[in-house]
Amino acid sequence: AQTVTQSQPEMSVQEAETVTLSCTYDTSESDYYLFWYKQPPSRQMILVIRQEAYKQQNATENRFSVNFQKAAKSFSLKISDSQLGDAAMYFCAYKGEEQGAQKLVFGQGTRLTINP
């Protein structure tokens, strides 16, 4: 079974600085998708960024980018120019491509605090 591990329960960063959240995963599949979701205090789950495993290029969405290392099974999220609104729980998630596999497997989450 696939597993996702986020080894940083909490992280903090100064406003306008850059922070990197770590995620590793375990799978025997070659095709899969990886996601970062943000969960603010409202507890809504909001998609931040997505990466297809077959793509070598790292995904980027404005201030958010990933460092996808397929061989190392690592998928970190970099937030540049951190803003107060970035404060939230961040969950890394995995989704396989095998037939019938539809579920997202989530990591334990990292609570990000932005210091003004």
């Binding site: 998708y33 996601f35 979701y37 409202s42 507890r43 809504q44 789950m45 909001i46 998609l47 997505r50 297809e52 969950f91 998630a93 989704k95 491509e97 019938g100 596999a101 539809q102 579920k103 997202l104 497997v105 989530f106 990591g107 334990q108 989450g109």
Partner: protein
């Protein structure tokens, strides 16, 4: 922008009672999901649903749980006899197809079992 909606936002029930959590997925989506998040823990998959039947379910999704799409817009999760450990946030999600496209999550229903 289309969004997934869920009702109620908070449900309080007595242990042993039945609850129904409701979701309205995005209208052109075909795949529907329920996830659970116990306070302070990670989000866990419960069940996926497509073409009016369950396509995948987790070990958590035992006989106490059922899902239904009673009409063209609603998607429900029923817990027949609630236990204290069912207290959690329940998220509904939907996607156009089961591939890599993201699952869009609703705001969640907080279930409290007393």
């Amino acid at each position: 922008e289309p969004e997934v909606t869920q009702t109620p936002s908070h449900q309080v029930t007595q242990m042993g009672q039945e609850v129904i959590l409701r979701c309205v997925p995005i209208s052109n989506h075909l795949y529907f999901y329920w996830y659970r998040q116990i306070l302070g823990q990670k989000v866990e998959f419960l069940v996926s649903f497509y073409n009016n039947e369950i396509s995948e379910k987790s070990e958590i999704f035992d006989d106490q749980f059922s899902v239904e799409r009673p009409d063209g817009s609603n998607f429900t999760l029923k817990i027949r006899s609630t236990k204290l450990e069912d207290s959690a946030m329940y998220f509904c999600a939907s996607s156009e197809r089961p591939g890599g496209r993201e699952q869009f999550f609703g705001p969640g229903t907080r279930l409290t079992v007393l």
